[in-house]
């Protein structure tokens, strides 16, 4: 297996090794060091003689220009006294939503994460995000991201990451957003739209996070090339917590990217996520039109492809810039599905096999400083589904859920943003509606650097 071997190599480089065969290597290093010191001393002596000769030749002008202004002391220390403290930032977000009163929103033909929140109607405050990040020492960096709301605190991310491995390698451990896809690592305040895209909502609820380990490698090439592998607990949808040792899920991904001229840059990639579910609860509509509860147990495998393209005249995005992003997925789930509730489903278990597709494409254009407009198209294909013994109880619709979203946002500064969005939602049969959203996003304190 390549993956464990790579990981072991990375860990061996990160932590001082104490194995017996290291002694041999240490002796070798010492020998080399001794030789090197000897040679360096001789070379330094030669250099000193050369420098002396040069200095004699260039003496009149070797020092910086003598000038009218007094020579000031260089700033040797960082001026910010709080530089050693973690960078703290707080995201405030909320707004207003004008929605139809639909008690249980469904995405036709898909088993989705019921825990994913549907936006509240009227005025509401979204989760506030508190982020702390800092280098821990010369070897590790730490990051913490918690969401806060009435009576609830969620640890979204809490991880360490190596900074001293070198060779393009980084290891991340703890709870983190997976590196799969494009939007997955972004928290809602970094989205270009007020709502999540239908693909991520269907696949994960919000985004895929995991408790585990990530190994990333950036290749030493002009073309940006990164490979990533992750193993983890796999407790999040589409998997479930399964109270076992070992890894509950794994993910593999690769990205490449580069520039086209001075004005264009791009990144594209493919990802794979494999996890397992044990009695994962969901909701479907039975042949009578009644909502029934389902429990899925089995394998869930997701392939994703992502592409981002950004344009800014001469690479300067401050006045005008354009961004296009698109992602596609294919998900295969196989195992068993039991359904209960209603007249047709009475806890009956059947085989389950589904292959489903979907994606989104979006564009955002900043046409003048502070102002952007954007459009997003979402579409899902319920694909093929087999319910085994439950085939008669559970109808298979070929309805394709879609959404069209238009947004305009205004950012008085890079720390504040106001957004208006209108969405034509056709995620379910007979659930068509036009939704209106007003959103504010404010970031207080240190503003972390943005990823591409």
């Amino acid at each position: 297996m390549l993956r464990p071997a790579l990981l072991a190599a990375a860990l061996a480089a990160a932590f001082p090794a104490h194995a017996d065969d290291q002694a041999d290597l240490a002796a070798l290093r010492a020998e080399v060091q001794a030789m090197k010191t000897g040679y360096e001393a001789r070379i330094q002596a030669l250099e000193a003689r050369l420098a002396k000769a040069e200095a004699a030749a260039a003496a009149p002008s070797a020092a910086p220009a003598a000038s009218a202004a007094p020579v000031e002391a260089a700033s040797s220390a960082p001026a910010n006294p709080g530089a050693f403290n973690p960078a703290i930032s707080l995201i405030l977000q909320g707004g207003y939503a004008n929605l139809k009163d639909i008690p249980a929103r469904q995405i036709a033909g898909f088993l989705t994460n019921d825990a994913a929140s549907t936006p509240a109607r009227g005025f509401s405050v979204d989760d506030s995000e508190l982020v702390l990040a800092s280098n821990i020492d010369p070897y590790f960096r730490g990051y913490f991201n918690a969401t806060l709301n009435d009576g609830s605190v969620g640890v979204e991310e809490a991880w360490f990451q190596t900074i001293a491995l070198g060779h393009g390698l980084t290891v991340k451990g703890g709870r983190f957003r997976s590196g799969i896809g494009y939007q997955n690592e972004q928290h809602p305040h970094a989205w270009d739209f007020a709502t999540n895209n239908l693909m991520y909502q269907t696949l994960f609820g919000e985004g895929y996070g995991n408790d585990g380990l990530q190994l990333r490698w950036v290749a030493p090439t002009d073309l940006f090339t990164e490979l990533g592998a992750e193993i983890g607990r796999g407790a999040q949808f589409p998997g479930t917590d399964r109270n076992r040792n070992g890894a509950g899920s794994y993910a593999l991904y690769g990205h490449i990217g580069g520039d086209v001229g001075e004005s264009n840059s791009w990144r594209g990639g493919v990802s794979y996520l494999s996890t397992r579910a044990d009695a994962r609860t969901g909701t479907l509509t039975d042949s009578n039109g009644t909502l029934v509860d389902t429990a899925f147990s089995g394998d869930s495998r997701t392939w994703m492809a992502d592409f981002v393209w950004k344009w800014a005249p001469l690479g300067n995005p401050t006045v005008r810039n354009f961004k296009f992003a698109a992602e596609l997925f294919r998900r295969e789930e196989s195992g068993g599905l039991s359904c209960s509730g209603g007249l047709l489903c009475t806890g009956s278990a059947g085989a389950y096999q589904a292959t489903q597709y979907g994606g989104y494409a979006q564009a955002a254009y900043q046409f003048m400083p502070r102002w952007r407009v954007g459009y997003r198209y979402d579409v899902l294909d319920p694909g093929s589904r087999e319910y085994g013994l439950n085939d008669t109880a559970l109808p298979r619709t070929d309805y394709r859920p879609t959404r069209h979203s238009l947004m305009v946002d205004y950012s008085p500064s890079e720390f504040s943003r106001l957004r208006l969005q209108v969405t034509q939602d056709r995620a379910n049969v007979g659930q068509d509606e036009n939704q209106w959203y007003l959103r504010y996003i404010y970031s207080l304190g240190t503003h972390g650097a943005h990823t591409f």
Binding site: V32, A58, A65, E262, R370, S413
Partner: protein, 299 residues
């Protein structure tokens, strides 16, 4: 000890035998040009930004991560100029050699005394730089100080060519000091000249040439001025007139040009860094053009 293993280890690990060029990742064109002056063919310089880009706001593009991955030395301004993008490159590159605190990480702003250190850190003041104004490259004497430190750092990282870096530094200093003397003599009429600036990007230039900044177009650093705010500046310029309104080549020309039209003064796009104008092809051209453009406005 097996001799073959020892030999292969030596070959891989001994910097004296490693003749690969020093890979320099320069955050801004002025430091890329300086690294080329000091290293010549011994260095391979990648310049991450151009004079037409705002160094405060750069996308952390995949191509930049790929270049940072292979760098032996990152030469950046520091003083929080690159705070919005450099951390992403450092974190994602997986390159241990160029992390802050390592010899491969060099900040030019650490080598000079910074002006305009803010008394109060409040975001209501706009996008201020907590460490002081980072645009140090507009004073050629700062370039000389940075050159001294940068050559020493290059020699430290590439000891096999230490003598070459020292020799090139001495040569650069000779030419640079002569040029500074020339620019200062030429720019003597500029002393006391009142100017308006679009962004607080020129305190070091003003300090060097004795220019008098009488107005700033951006109401707060990094905040684009509205027409109303520009009208206020134009009104104030009636009481304290300026001879020219100055901006960096990368900046949106519209605020400067609006003011120039309404106040009846020339709008000047100074190159600000290497590549910012046709003449600013290297560090010498940068100041040749800057001084000439200012002299033309003063006439």
């Amino acid at each position: 000890m097996k001799p073959f293993r020892l030999f292969s280890f030596l070959f891989a690990a001994w910097p004296v035998f490693a003749h690969a060029a020093l890979n320099v990742f320069a955050c801004e064109p002025e430091w890329g040009a300086l690294a080329t002056e000091l290293g010549g063919d011994a260095v391979k310089v990648y310049t991450a930004t151009t004079a037409m880009q705002d160094p405060h706001h750069i996308e952390a593009r995949p191509s930049l991560i790929a270049q940072m991955r292979r760098a032996n030395l990152a030469v950046c301004t520091g003083a929080e100029l690159e705070i919005g993008w450099l951390p992403v490159l450092l974190q994602q590159s997986g390159n241990a050699a160029i992390q802050p605190g390592q010899p491969g990480y060099f900040e030019a702003a650490r080598q000079v005394a910074l002006l305009e250190k803010p008394m109060v850190l409040d975001r209501a003041q706009g996008d201020i730089h907590a460490a002081g104004n980072p645009h140090v490259q507009t004073d050629p004497r700062n370039i000389a100080r940075v050159a001294q430190a940068l050559a020493a750092r290059m020699a430290e990282l590439d000891p096999a060519r230490a003598a070459l870096y020292r020799a090139r530094l001495a040569g650069f200093n000779t030419r640079w000091n002569a040029a500074i003397a020339r620019w200062q003599a030429e720019a003597a009429p500029l002393r006391g000249m009142p100017i308006a600036v679009q962004h607080l990007g020129f305190p070091y230039l003003e300090n060097w040439l004795g220019l008098k900044q009488v107005a700033v177009l951006e109401p707060k650093p990094g905040v684009a001025p509205s027409v109303g705010q520009l009208a206020d500046v134009a009104a104030r310029l009636k009481a304290t007139p300026a001879r020219a309104v100055i901006r960096a080549a990368y900046q949106d020309p519209r605020p400067s040009e609006w003011l120039a039209a309404h106040a009846g003064i020339p709008a000047i796009a100074l190159p600000f860094t290497v590549g910012g104008s046709a003449r600013a092809g290297d560090l010498f051209g940068l100041f040749d053009d800057t001084v000439d453009q200012l002299l033309r406005a003063a006439r």
